[in-house]
């Protein structure tokens, strides 16, 4: 069922019911586990810190969430690993100022994730080698 709700979710501000649901889910995690919300946050930070000791991760994209299935809570972590190339691309500033309006938008920090991925594709040496073959 992605028709109405799904379409709206991406576009507009969340409704007050959606906000209530999210807030409830969060508060119930600490109610049920008897762990203060501040402690939950602390734990999430600690988990990320431990993982960072062993592997490079894309910290901006890390999601550690509590999920509820039936009446049980699960701690679900979505931790993208940092690829070597992606890491380099991050260091280099993305160059794309062809279209004025879109360039302004890409300056927003939220939008930074996607252009980086595009940059990595361009930076791959295989692409350069492919062009002579076509000719």
């Amino acid at each position: 069922m992605t028709s109405l709700l799904g379409r709206f979710k991406g576009r507009r501000e969340p409704t007050s019911a959606e906000i209530a649901k999210e807030r409830l889910k969060l508060v119930l995690v600490s109610d049920r586990s008897d762990l203060a919300p501040e402690k939950l946050h602390e734990m999430q930070t600690a988990i990320i810190d431990v993982i960072k000791r062993y592997i490079r991760i894309d910290e901006m994209e890390v999601q550690i969430k509590f999920e509820q299935r039936d009446r049980k809570n699960y701690l679900v972590a979505d931790i993208p690993l940092q690829r070597e190339r992606a890491y380099e691309a991050l260091a280099a500033p993305p160059e794309s100022s062809d279209e004025g309006e879109e360039a302004e938008e890409s300056e927003l920090p939220e939008a930074s994730a996607e252009p980086e991925e595009e940059a990595t594709v361009e930076a791959q040496p295989e692409d350069d080698e492919a062009e002579p073959e076509k000719e």
């Binding site: 007050s16 019911a17 959606e18 649901k21 409830l24 109610d31 039936d70």
Partner: protein, 270 residues
């Protein structure tokens, strides 16, 4: 075994527990069942007023427990329906006058003669709630589609689970406002079910007639009124007796509020 003892509780106060209890009791009695309601809210009794039986009380629950009268003497018969009785709470006593063991003993005394014993639990999670829960064969949790009520309902569900007796628990969502749900300004039925993961027994739409009926001391389900809330409560009563009435399907056949409610229910469920 005899009667089924059903405790109606909510955690949060003001969600409509007492009104739901009164109306369910009347609806069950109208289905030909023998019903007794026990008001477990000692010190703050109200079920008598909602049922319109406040002027006929002679003895109360504490009088029975403390041996000042026989159980039969304390039970007030509702003359408007075939087999409905109220065992009122004491108004001037402290809640500690009754213990969970007293409630179990009381329920056992009544089991043989009735089909349903409905216990109206006080709000909160303390003594009165413990009393109401002790003899329960089943628990009905009443909640509203509002964050504080849902949170408290979750707490209550947890406490019932922690009891360790595996008491079957079901949920009634009271005061649903279909228009607000459609606008996204009220948790939908499925939002609440998503969070509480408890079987749904029914949805009662918000209905001004409920207040009118409380004013009169005449539960909506007494006469076969066409009000949305009373129809929803009668459906819940039928479900309690084992009738298979799909919650969405039935509501779709009806007009107005019900149809909209059902549509929202299905929309988010699919």
């Amino acid at each position: 075994m005899g009667a089924r003892v059903i405790t109606i509780t909510s955690g949060k106060g003001g969600v409509g527990k007492t009104t739901a209890t009164a109306n369910l009791a009347v609806a069950l009695a109208n289905l030909g069942k023998k019903v007794v309601c026990i008001d477990a809210d000692i010190g703050l009794r109200n079920l008598d007023v909602v049922m319109g039986l406040e002027n006929r009380i002679v003895y109360d629950l504490v009088d029975v427990v403390e041996g000042r009268c026989k159980l039969r003497q304390a039970m007030v018969k509702d003359k408007r329906v075939p087999d409905l009785y109220l065992l009122p709470a004491a108004q001037t006593r402290d809640k500690t006058a009754v213990s969970p063991q007293d409630m179990v003993a009381l329920a056992n005394q009544l089991r043989g003669d009735y089909d349903y014993i409905l216990i109206d639990s006080p709000a909160g999670i303390e003594w009165g709630f413990r009393n109401a829960l002790a003899p329960a064969d089943e628990v009905i949790i009443i909640t509203n589609p509002e964050a504080p009520a849902v949170r408290d309902a979750d707490r209550i569900i947890g406490l019932v689970e922690a009891e360790g007796r595996k008491i079957p628990t079901s949920l009634v969502i009271n005061r649903a406002k279909p228009d607000m749900i459609r606008r996204g300004d009220m948790l939908s039925v499925n939002d609440v079910l998503d969070i509480l993961s408890t079987p749904l027994l029914g949805v009662i739409p918000d209905d001004e007639q409920i207040i009118v009926s409380s004013n009169r001391g005449s539960p909506l389900t007494l006469d076969n009124q066409k009000s949305p809330a009373s129809e929803a409560i009668r459906d819940i009563a039928r479900r309690i007796t084992g009738a298979k009435i799909p919650i969405g399907e039935l509501e779709r056949k009806k007009g107005g509020l019900f149809r909209r409610l059902a549509r929202l229910f299905h929309r988010s469920r699919a």
